[in-house]
């Protein structure tokens, strides 16, 4: 894949097809090495007797604060979650801040407090970082970049290559909450709803699955930008099989559904910050679902579909009367600056 776009567009940051082209077609080839080329959520390196998972992330959400969270919280949870779905408990985080001149100290203090609280909740320390300031008019208040690392649990054998036909697709919570919340919080649309971002650390949920399923847990992902559809398409491409989703079983809050209907958006393309996707062996699915539903944050967990042999590398959605459609990766950027 070659990156032929002449300039960078918003779509390249949306987490969908354009983002993938940028990473796979330009960035990865120029920096290429064995670990990078795997393009996992976290990069896993052998470390002593075990494995070290490392991840970097950045946060450019607008507005900085929204119901259910803020940029500081996203920064911690988003990083911790990339580690969690790789089967790692977080050891530590580093955070860099790019601040806009004119940002009020009160706002910065509030974000740091939110970040500290999120770190405490996630059981991780921020051990270092950097700060830069740019002119007024750049950085929209602040941007945060993070680097996180943790040791991978030896029981976690997670790879798209482990996924096989017959495996079940589980989601740990309702979809679309975060993206729609942030969109409404911008106040540019004349829409009101009682909705909150679902941002939370997923470590407990991820490890509940590792405990319950062992090697029956094949793969996990936190579906952020690009949504569930994009994450499942990446899985389908990587494992070579088909993913069949029973559309009516995907947990969806009525407010998210309503907002998506009004705006013409597909909830499966909307970013999430507090749920995970897991592929589990059919014999582990019952226990997996039960343990998720008993874990805080997993109350709405559901079995939403299965892996099939064909059509290869395709995600399909099926409705209650048997009509099917393909569920494609996100194209374009319907909701910019969500994470």
């Amino acid at each position: 894949m070659r990156f032929k776009d002449v300039q960078i567009e918003m779509a390249h940051g949306a987490g969908g097809k354009a983002s993938r082209r940028l990473v796979e077609g330009l960035i990865a080839p120029l920096l290429s090495n064995a670990t990078l080329d795997e393009l996992g959520d976290a990069a896993v390196l052998p470390f002593g007797a075990g494995r070290l998972a490392t991840t970097a992330d950045s946060f450019v959400v607008r507005p900085l604060r929204f119901p259910g969270g803020s940029i500081g919280e996203l920064a911690v949870n988003g990083t911790v979650n990339d580690l969690a779905v790789s089967g790692a408990r977080p050891l530590a985080l580093l955070a860099t801040f790019i601040l806009e001149a004119g940002l009020s100290t009160q706002t910065l203090r509030e974000e740091l407090e939110a970040l500290a609280a999120a770190a405490r909740r996630a059981g991780v320390s921020v051990i270092g970082g950097d700060t830069k300031v740019v002119e007024h008019g750049k950085a929209d208040g602040m941007y945060i970049s993070t680097f996180g690392f943790g040791t991978v649990d030896e029981r976690a054998l997670l790879a798209a290559g482990n996924v096989r036909p017959g495996d079940r697709v589980l989601v740990s919570g309702s979809v679309g909450d975060h993206g729609i919340t942030v969109l409404l919080a911008r106040g540019e649309l004349d829409l009101e709803a009682q909705l909150e971002s679902d941002t939370r650390p997923l470590t407990e949920l991820a490890f509940a699955l590792i405990d319950a399923c062992g090697d029956g847990l094949r793969w996990m992902r936190d579906p952020t930008r690009g949504g569930v559809a994009t994450a499942l398409n990446e899985l389908a491409r990587a494992c070579g099989h088909a993913v069949l989703i029973e559309e009516d079983s995907v947990p969806l809050r009525s407010e998210v559904r309503g907002a998506c209907e009004i705006l013409g958006l597909d909830p499966l393309h909307i970013a999430n910050e507090g749920c995970l996707l897991a592929i589990v062996a059919p014999q582990s699915a019952g226990a997996a679902l039960e343990v998720l539903q008993r874990t805080p944050g997993g109350e709405r967990a559901a079995d939403i579909g299965e892996i099939r042999e064909a059509p290869e590398r395709t995600v399909l959605g099926r409705n209650a009367y048997g009509g099917t459609r393909t569920i494609d990766m996100l194209v374009g950027d319907p909701l910019p600056r969500i994470c």
Partner: protein, 370 residues
């Protein structure tokens, strides 16, 4: 969701599917055109082709206002925002439509102030909030959307706004249906009539279809139950040797349309003598222009627009797909040179475009593309 979920009720859908399976005559094929792009999307989105008997073929019609807009008009819209101090507002659909020098989104990335809105009233609000800028609204749509643009223009006049204009590209559906019926390569048995256009225009404007061409036309809603019932009603007419206009979408479409909406349209707009449609050529009396009394809110009166006729690339078969002569996947560029990220024509990016619908909801599972 009320008025949505009941019309997606699986037992009812199964019953309709069974009725359809019983009513089709063995050995006969049926070609029914759904005029409206919204129907095309709904059909693919809900997987209705899995439920319809294989002898019923649904042909995609030209009812996609973004798709039928010639590239030259997109360029004209982009020329408006090239004027310093101008803000161009448009629906999300328009943002990825290719003009000669890129899409509005690409122009925006290069610094043009182009903003997506969900309503012409949003554009009005942006004008009120930015008195130092001129705000222009790129109006597209059939009769469904024209009344909203009309009310917005009336409101602009009420407010005495001097920094607001509309670039009007509204088109009307009847000339497009007539052009399809006049087309020699079309063999159609009946029509699924546009649902939301009809809330404004009512059902009478389609009476020429059974009267002059002997084909049934059933105005239908957009949920699976609506579309299946609409198809069933067409087939029942065919079986009975009848041809008339029927209203499946009774809960929403009044037979005589919406008088207030029609009044709004006529007070603000008049018909252009002719207008170019992608794929259908120049059609007379098929598009709306802003009346001279509203000239100061008419972007075509306020700005010098290039007005250049831009022909589609030779290899693109947009016109044939719009007329239903070709299915999206039969266009040589489909999925190759033309895809949603790099579209050659608007059909691949519009929320009502047949190519966009096929690409998004079907083509990955189509063995032809494996």
């Amino acid at each position: 969701m009320k008025y949505v979920d009941e019309f997606r009720d699986p037992p009812v859908i199964v019953r309709l599917a069974r009725e359809l399976a019983h009513i089709v005559e063995p050995g006969r094929t049926y070609r029914i055109m759904e005029v409206c792009g919204g129907h095309t999307h709904a059909i693919y989105r809900h997987g209705l082709r899995d439920i319809l008997p294989p002898s019923i073929e649904l042909i995609h019609g030209p009812g996609c206002p973004v798709c039928v807009l010639p590239t030259g008009r997109v360029d004209d819209g982009l020329a408006i925002v090239a004027n310093p101090g101008t803000i161009l507002t448009c629906f999300g659909d328009m943002m990825r439509v290719p003009g000669s020098l890129g899409t509005p989104l690409e122009h925006k990335a290069r610094g043009a102030d182009i903003r997506m809105v969900y309503s012409p009233l949003d554009a009005l609000r942006i004008a009120q909030e930015n008195p130092q800028h001129h705000v222009s609204f790129f109006a597209i749509g059939f009769e469904t959307t024209a009344p909203s643009t009309a009310l917005t223009l009336l409101r602009a006049r009420e407010l005495g706004l001097t920094n607001f204009s509309v670039f009007c590209n509204h088109v009307t559906i009847v000339p497009a249906i007539r052009a399809i019926l006049e087309s020699p390569d079309m063999r159609l048995d009946g029509f699924i009539g546009p649902g939301h256009v009809s809330t404004v225009s009512g059902c009478r404007p389609y009476e020429f279809v059974p009267r002059d061409y002997g084909k049934p036309l059933v105005v239908s809603g957009f949920e699976p139950v609506d579309i299946l019932e609409g198809v069933l009603m067409v087939l029942r007419q065919l079986r009975a040797g009848e041809a008339k206009v029927e209203n499946q979408y009774r809960r929403i479409v009044p037979w005589d349309g919406n008088p207030a909406a029609l009044r709004a349209i006529f007070s603000v707009f008049e018909l252009r003598p002719y207008f170019e449609w992608r794929g259908l050529g120049f059609i007379s009396q098929s598009a709306l222009k802003i009346r001279s009394e509203f000239a100061q809110w008419d972007a075509e009166a306020r700005f010098e627009l290039p007005g250049v006729r831009v022909t589609d690339p030779k290899a693109a078969q947009c016109g044939e797909v719009l007329k239903g002569v070709l299915k999206p996947a039969q266009c040589k560029l489909f999925g190759r040179e033309c895809n949603p990220e790099h579209p050659v024509g608007a059909l691949m990016v519009s929320s009502e475009g047949a190519c966009a619908a096929y690409y998004r909801y079907v083509h990955h599972a189509d063995p032809v593309f494996a």
